[in-house]
């Protein structure tokens, strides 16, 4: 589009601003929070062990599976979790190639968060300083070279809705894991009912994730936002209102669910390693 050129004042230098409030706190907290999650989740995904408790070999212990490892497509060599869909690691898997069940499935929830509208705004500020905060100067090299999400590579953020579809499937899978956590194996190999602290953790996890996932901007668009006539369908209008309610709290649930899923993994990992005991309530 051709418009009259403007002569504008000099752009401020990187991180320079006339703001007098503590504008740097929020991006710093985001940097610390997301950075800690990234480091921990990557470490946990590469462990390939201590991701479950309560198998046939552990009677009386509630069955807990780490959300970072769910679903388990194949068990790593030497491990029998009881959660693997297709059993042991197949022979065609190259012996030299490292295997962890988490690495096969984590790209989907990770992609959902990476392309999430809330997280995009947050990490563009905290990690890339684009800008670090409102009215705070940007790195000089970016200048008019800024491409935003208009061009490659960030134009691929538009894939978000496909990660949403995957995230909804994962809500179902993690809800199933929450239900399974109410069970344990008895000494005779039969299944028994029980509730432990781990059960509560694994039940809360999909609830928090649902509050985040079902408040997604894409979902808000898909259930009704894309239509000019919301009142043409009562179901559409109702769904749009409910998703909007969650969407208005999207940032809150993004953080609650992020810490929730990380804590669920930490809890299962600590119980599996023997550092913590999963206390039975019932």
């Amino acid at each position: 589009m051709s418009r009259n050129p403007l002569s504008l004042p000099q752009v401020r230098g990187f991180l320079k601003t006339e703001r007098k409030d503590n504008w740097w706190i929020v991006p710093l907290l985001v940097l610390a929070g997301l950075g800690a999650f990234l480091i921990y989740s990557t470490w946990a995904a590469f462990q390939g062990s201590n991701f479950f408790v309560g198998s046939v070999e552990q009677p009386g212990v509630q069955q807990l599976l780490s959300p970072f490892y769910s679903p388990v497509l194949w068990d790593p060599n030497g491990i029998h979790s009881g959660h693997a869909w297709f059993g042991a690691l197949p022979a065609w898997w190259p012996a030299w190639m490292f295997f962890s069940p988490a690495l096969l499935i984590l790209p989907f929830p990770a992609g959902f968060r990476f392309t999430c509208y809330y997280y995009r705004g947050a990490y563009y500020k905290a990690f890339w300083g684009d800008p670090a905060s409102c009215t705070v100067g940007e790195p000089a090299f970016r200048g008019q070279n800024y491409r935003g999400e208009q061009k490659f590579p960030l134009i691929f953020q538009n894939i978000h809705r496909y990660f949403l579809y995957a995230a909804i499937v994962f809500i179902g899978l993690l809800t199933w894991d929450g239900l399974v956590s109410f069970t344990h194996y008895n000494a005779d190999g039969t299944l028994g009912f029980g509730i432990s602290i781990g059960t509560i953790v694994l039940v809360l996890n999909p609830i928090f994730l649902s509050m985040y996932t079902f408040g997604c901007h894409c979902l808000r668009h898909l259930v009704g936002g894309k239509h000019d006539c919301l009142s043409c369908s009562k179901h559409r209008e109702g769904a749009y209102k409910r998703v909007t309610w969650l969407n208005e709290r999207h940032m809150l649930f993004a953080w609650i669910s992020l810490f929730g899923v990380a804590f669920a993994d930490i809890y299962v990992r600590m119980c599996a390693s023997g550092a913590w005991t999963d206390w039975r309530i019932l």
């Binding site: 589009m1 051709s2 418009r3 009259n4 050129p5 403007l6 002569s7 504008l8 004042p9 752009v11 401020r12 601003t17 006339e18 703001r19 007098k20 409030d21 509208y117 809330y118 995009r120 705004g121 563009y124 500020k125 684009d130 800008p131 409102c134 009215t135 100067g137 940007e138 970016r142 200048g143 008019q144 800024y146 491409r147 935003g148 999400e149 208009q150 061009k151 960030l154 134009i155 538009n158 894939i159 809705r161 901007h217 894409c218 808000r220 668009h221 936002g225 894309k226 000019d228 006539c229 919301l230 009142s231 209008e237 969407n247 208005e248």
Partner: protein
């Protein structure tokens, strides 16, 4: 340069504050400091007017309604885009000088006045409202409140251009030639979401208006004096409609089998 206040005391004076006001024009400028006594209930615009009356009679400032409805007195107060008439002095740190600058995304005319006419030129290029044929024999249409709620939120805009000022795409990257800014993405959203409108502006949003340049910092939403959810309710829904139209292969496939309106 520092000035001395001509009035040193008054019955309702509570404290003296320092005001750093940007003075200059297109060729450049600098901050000048003015001391001024601040009374209870004053807003920044009151102080600027008093400085203009007593210390700097040639100070240029644009204002009109003093009620937060005309959008004329937009400025940057302590680095944050705000309406001067709606910024109470008791919300600012009392011990630090108050910094007042013009909008930084538009060319300076003089002192606190900027040339915002670029915005009006942009607005003229957006395809206007094009209603469908009337629903009723008397030439009227039937609409339901649920369908116009979204649009009515955007109609609260007073065109103060604080959102345009704070948007880093314009402010820091100077993409005025490729990006219309949050105000006009929202204006387009109001037209696109209107239940009677039949015009299609999605290609313009993608190619001419540069909606992809928005990287969702939400700064526009934060500074809006009318508290409009610019990012969540206007820009992101438009981004999603653009995805439907141009980027999502499945919706494009579905559209092939859907009858045209």
């Amino acid at each position: 340069m520092t000035f001395e206040p001509s009035v040193t005391s008054s019955a309702d004076a509570t404290r003296t504050m320092q005001f750093r006001i940007w003075r200059g024009d297109q060729s450049g400028g600098a901050f000048q400091t003015y001391p001024m006594q601040v009374s209870e209930g004053m807003v920044v615009l009151d102080c600027v007017h008093r400085i203009q009356a007593e210390l700097a009679t040639d100070l240029a400032v644009r204002w009109n309604c003093k009620a937060g409805k005309c959008g004329s007195c937009s400025a940057e107060i302590n680095g944050q885009p705000k309406l001067m008439c709606m910024t109470r002095m008791d919300t600012l740190p009392p011990d630090a000088p108050v910094t007042i600058e013009p909008l930084r995304s538009f060319p300076s005319i003089r002192d606190l006045v900027t040339d915002v006419s670029w915005n009006f030129r942009v607005k003229k290029k957006i395809k206007p409202f094009k209603p469908r044929k009337p629903d009723n024999a008397d030439g009227s249409w039937t609409m339901f409140q649920a369908d116009v709620d979204r649009v009515q939120e955007f109609r609260k805009c007073i065109e103060c251009f604080l959102c345009q000022d704070v948007c880093h795409v314009l402010r820091d990257h100077h993409k005025h030639d490729e990006f219309v800014g949050p105000r006009f993405l929202m204006y387009t959203a109001a037209l696109e979401m209107h239940p009677l409108d039949t015009e299609d502006r999605l290609k313009d949003l993608k190619d001419n208006d540069g909606i992809g340049y928005c990287n969702i910092t939400k700064c526009c939403t934060k500074v809006c004096p009318e508290h409009i959810g610019i990012t969540d309710n206007a820009i992101i829904p438009m981004k999603e409609r653009v995805v439907d139209e141009f980027y999502d292969p499945i919706t494009r496939l579905f559209r092939m089998f859907k009858p045209k309106k």
